[in-house]
């Protein structure tokens, strides 16, 4: 072990169970080789796959033999019922409106919280860890469950959907933002303080200009996700396109569903292009 060629390495639990191997080459020099983790990881993975297969009862054969059912469905999806477009526009607009409002509200709420949850600005570890824990909890809740609860509390409709999107956006944007804030250059902040500015003045003129573009970029990214996510919220009664989707599937009107999905596709692609363009400009 105390060979002059070995650099000190931190031994993990794994290395203690499977101690590193000392390899000596013909000229007498030697080197320590840590045992590969690959076999252990592979074994764990195989066990996980086996258990998962047992638990889910997943059967590839069934899917292959009954695959034609899906193909039938797809053929209908690719022959959208064009006259249905009139009935799509209303809910589609609702979905977009829900995403816009939800994103704006969520992002506005996220800004102060994210600032308070960044270790380089907020010096109190208690506040930081409490906020981060709350954010993490919010992020664990599936949007659809939040939407369902909102719909039960505030009644069916777009308000519940907007609220659900706001909560979801808040959790994600705040997290992305505090991670970005921690990477900003704190030099200007210290310089401002040295000039005699108070903490808020220093933060406003030294940190905000650095944070703002990142914040806008994260918000746009989240908006992209929200448009896609809000399309299904209607499924639990939270307004928007989801209601139409649910209805079409219920009636097995897959040509109509094709039209709904096509409009959604066009809107999502358009928004994605636009937002990607804006985000490129911001960076």
């Amino acid at each position: 072990m105390d060979n002059e060629n070995t650099t000190p390495v931190k031994l993990t639990l794994f290395d203690k169970i499977f101690p590193p191997e000392l390899i000596t080459i013909p000229n007498g020099h030697s080197v320590l080789r840590r045992r590969s983790r690959a076999p252990l990881i592979l074994l764990l993975l195989l066990v996980a796959i086996y258990l998962s297969l047992k638990m889910t009862g997943f059967d590839m054969k069934l899917i292959i033999t009954r695959f034609d059912k899906l193909l039938d469905l797809f053929v209908k999806l690719f022959h959208p019922k064009w006259e249905f477009f009139n009935k799509v526009t209303g809910p589609l607009m609702d979905t977009i409106k829900m995403s816009i409002l939800g994103t704006v509200i969520g992002c506005l709420l996220a800004l102060p919280i994210a600032v308070l949850a960044s270790t380089n600005i907020c010096k109190s570890p208690v506040i930081v860890s409490v906020l981060r824990f709350i954010l993490a909890l919010i992020r664990t809740l599936p949007t659809l469950v939040i939407a369902l609860v909102c719909a039960l509390v505030f009644g069916l409709g777009t308000f519940a959907g907007t609220l659900a999107i706001s909560i979801f956006t808040f959790g994600i944007v705040a997290k992305m933002l505090y991670e970005s804030i921690e990477t900003i250059d704190m030099g200007p902040f210290e310089a401002m303080e040295a000039l005699g500015a108070n903490k808020f003045q220093a933060f406003w003129s030294a940190c905000v200009p650095q944070i703002l573009p990142v914040y806008l970029s994260h918000s746009l990214y989240c908006f992209e996700m929200n448009v896609r996510a809000s399309a299904i919220l209607g499924y639990v009664g939270a307004g928007g396109l989801g209601i139409t989707i649910n209805e079409r599937i219920g009636w097995r009107d897959y040509n109509g569903l094709g039209m709904v999905l096509l409009s959604l596709f066009v809107v999502v692609v358009a928004i994605e292009f636009f937002s990607e363009y804006l985000r490129k400009k911001l960076s």
């Binding site: 060629n5 390899i23 080459i25 013909p26 020099h29 080197v31 080789r33």
Partner: protein
């Protein structure tokens, strides 16, 4: 022995990189090729291991006409000729020893290649190669954690592991800092002397070339304008090689 006989090289875009090159390099020589960028230094090296084809003339290595080699023969020939690049060309995500072991790959059968199974002998030999360049202790470190000089040594070890008779080095020290550059040059000298491997290197810094190499070849616009021992080259000759511009030295900091 490497022998160029009236070699011409014209690129598909019509640019003539080599004009009537005649050279003879004996086994175990340590040769520096100097010249401006674009003069044809790289082309000379790349013709030797057939990364480029010669347009006219013959290029023989140990009596074999390089231009006639095809497919498998060519790959077998390339095993004897190691090549080192300015940018190291290592797999950054792999450990040093894995990079060195890739030198054995062309001789292995399909299944061993597919699953990456290397024998104990091969591993020991790879470690030995790493030891020859003095970085045995970094064998199990990922290459992206190594410094530039260490990475170039891994590349050198990989080349040594292929047991070459000739090493071609294309600007091996150009992206290293002056101190590391000198260390790597010393590694080259040591390997050249101890294992009698022919080393041809393209080098930008005239001072390094004169200090470490035995023989200097000056290339200007695709033609050889100087060929002789490093100790005999005069300032006028250097100026001529560099077309009247000041020859770059390590002191310039590039």
């Amino acid at each position: 022995m490497i022998e160029f006989k009236n070699v011409y090289k014209t690129y598909p875009n019509g640019f003539t990189a080599l004009k009537d090159v005649n050279l003879k390099i004996e086994q175990g020589e340590f040769v520096a090729i100097i010249g401006l960028s674009g003069a044809g230094k790289s082309t000379i090296l790349r013709c030797i291991n057939r990364m480029h084809d010669v347009t006219k003339g013959t290029l023989t290595v140990d009596g074999v006409d390089v231009n006639t080699l095809r497919g498998k023969e060519l790959r077998r020939y390339r095993r004897k000729v190691g090549m080192i690049f300015q940018s190291f060309n290592l797999v950054n995500r792999s450990t040093a020893i894995k990079n060195v072991l890739t030198a054995d790959v062309p001789d292995m059968d399909f299944f061993r290649v597919l699953f990456g199974i290397f024998s104990k002998v091969q591993k020991i030999r790879a470690l030995d190669s790493l030891d020859k360049v003095g970085i045995l202790d970094k064998a199990y470190t990922r290459c992206d954690q190594l410094s530039g000089g260490q990475q170039q040594r891994v590349a050198l070890a990989r080349t040594l592991n292929q047991n070459p008779k000739i090493i071609l080095a294309d600007e091996p020290v150009a992206s290293l800092d002056p101190i590391t550059a000198r260390q790597v040059m010393q590694d080259f000298v040591r390997i050249n002397k101890r294992y009698q491997i022919t080393i041809l290197l393209n080098i930008h810094h005239i001072d390094l070339a004169l200090q470490y190499c035995d023989r200097v070849i000056g290339v200007r616009a695709g033609e050889i304008v100087f060929d002789g021992p490093a100790s005999t080259i005069t300032q006028e000759q250097i100026d001529f090689v560099y077309n009247g511009t000041k020859a770059p030295t390590l002191g310039d900091g590039e």
